[in-house]
Symmetry: C2
Subunit: 312 residues, 2 copies
């Protein structure tokens, strides 16, 4: 095992990069813009060039690297082929092969971004010490990553851990971006929580401090709930109940011993996990109901940690 490795978390706007020791110490992190034009063809040489500069600055070369781990917003097949990533402009592209060629044949792995975050949290974050993990990322959408016995479950069709598109309300009339109706993401993403709030405010006359805020965000809803606003608390309960129900489904399939809750919504702190926990203990099968439910620790760095972990 060589001493260093690089993780590259490729997003729609920036590529987050990290130089790590293969023990998992993050030595340096930096960002470069993601050039999505021309079907994102510049992304690979841009990463190679930027990594080369950082290595040179430290008197290192690609020979000192165990490899480069990439993570991308999109489905990834077992051979490192990315099966379209709208956000970064790629169609079906042999990402592992191309990245390796750009860096002199170095080892390269590619993960889906939610899976990378799960692996990162297991390695150096909130999932340390666990081998059966479910990570749920509550951001603009809802992502998920499933780890069984220390390994990511990519899924036969690249859709392992697509928890955001589990049907939670078969009676929903509004369509999810995926084309289905009633997906978890429709209710528990940042956007979903804000929308639920609009609906519930319009449906009732219950007084609430949220009525003084123009289009309350998920952050504002959790903040008002934290201050004790009963209406905001009922919204948090509704969201938490739906998340807990989906988590109980995960328990019935892979039975993890820890759920890591990440993404923007998780930044509202312990109120997030406390409310989820209350419902999860009720919904889960008796054997699984003591699973831990914890907040993610690595924030936006989870992806680069996981991308490197995948190399080891």
């Amino acid at each position: 095992m060589k001493k260093y490795a690089v993780g590259a978390d490729i997003g729609g706007t920036t590529v987050k990069l990290g130089l790590f020791t293969t023990e998992g110490d993050l030595l340096e992190k930096w960002e470069i813009p993601t050039r999505t034009e021309d079907n994102g063809k510049n992304i690979f040489p841009d990463i190679a060039k930027s990594v080369g500069e950082v290595l040179e600055h430290r008197g290192l070369t690609t020979n000192d690297l165990e490899g480069v781990g990439l993570d991308v917003p999109g489905p990834v097949l077992p051979d490192g082929t990315v099966n379209r990533s709208v956000n970064i402009g790629w169609g079906v592209i042999k990402a592992a092969e191309i990245m390796s060629a750009e860096m002199g044949g170095i080892r390269t792995t590619v993960l889906n971004d939610a899976n990378a975050a799960a692996l990162g949290e297991m390695w150096k974050g909130a999932g340390v010490g666990h081998k059966d993990v479910c990570m749920i990322t509550l951001g603009t959408g809802v992502g998920g990553g499933i780890i069984v016995d220390g390994k990511i479950v990519p899924g036969a069709f690249g859709a392992g851990g697509e928890i955001g598109h589990i049907t939670i309300n078969p009676n929903e009339k509004t369509q999810c971006t995926c084309g289905k109706y009633g997906c978890l993401e429709q209710y528990t993403s940042g956007r979903g929580i804000a929308k639920l709030c609009q609906m519930r405010l319009a449906d009732s006359n219950e007084p609430s401090s949220l009525r003084d805020i123009d289009n309350p965000t998920a952050k504002e809803i959790y903040a008002e709930a934290g201050k004790g606003d009963a209406f905001a608390l009922s919204l948090v309960d509704e969201v938490s109940s739906q998340l807990a129900m989906a988590m109980s489904f995960v328990s019935g399939v892979t039975d993890p011993d820890v759920f890591v809750i990440g993404g923007g919504v998780s930044k509202n702190g312990p109120i997030v996990t406390e409310h989820i926990e209350k419902f999860f203990r009720e919904y889960a099968f008796h054997a699984s109901k003591d699973a831990k439910i914890v907040l993610a620790k690595l924030g936006n760095d989870a992806g680069i940690y996981g991308a490197v972990r995948a190399l080891l």
Copy 2:
């Protein structure tokens, strides 16, 4: 790898035994009674004695065996400890260790019975050629086994694949045997289907050939549906819809490429998978909706096949 192996599927009434080649050919199968008295302490020596006789008859000894694989109705921890099995009288018992000691230190593995069936079907049954499998057993209860990348997912609490206790109807008022309300098993087990039929018959005046049968069984319901009885068909649709919904949850977690439907209910033939398929294609996330849905092939032998496969 030695040439032979034995599988022992320990049930509440009988132990099914099989002598296999390690290539997976079943050379001989037989049964002995399960002596559940005295906390089932005779089960191990009974198996050892019976296997010894069969081996002797063929001029073989335990030295010719790669090992003995057991499967039991109950949760099994990774070290081969059975965490209580009501049906066979065991409390918490180090089954692998005890069985091995009874047979001169031979290698022994222990699996949960639903997991063994899944592994058996992957190895030599309806899941051949697949590495990401979900098996659902529709019997008196509803069992499940999840395979990821060729390996059983036992779960951190021994509850991996406990699909029968996924909540499918949060509004249910009748309690499941597990203590929760609205589990899949309550609607789609043999018993559940028969009960649903009673309720639906009582709730409507719709004519049906099922009204001429005293307490129709799941088998009779599927049979009448097969003959075109509209009421029976609506019951089959209701059951299939709930199964398909639970299967879509599995797809959102481990994303298998094949679902194998086994157990007594599956013996009603293609009508079972055809109706499930119709709903699954509608409920599953787009990437996963082409997963195959097939009937189990090994019947009651799936357990012994899987128990042996676990040794290899």
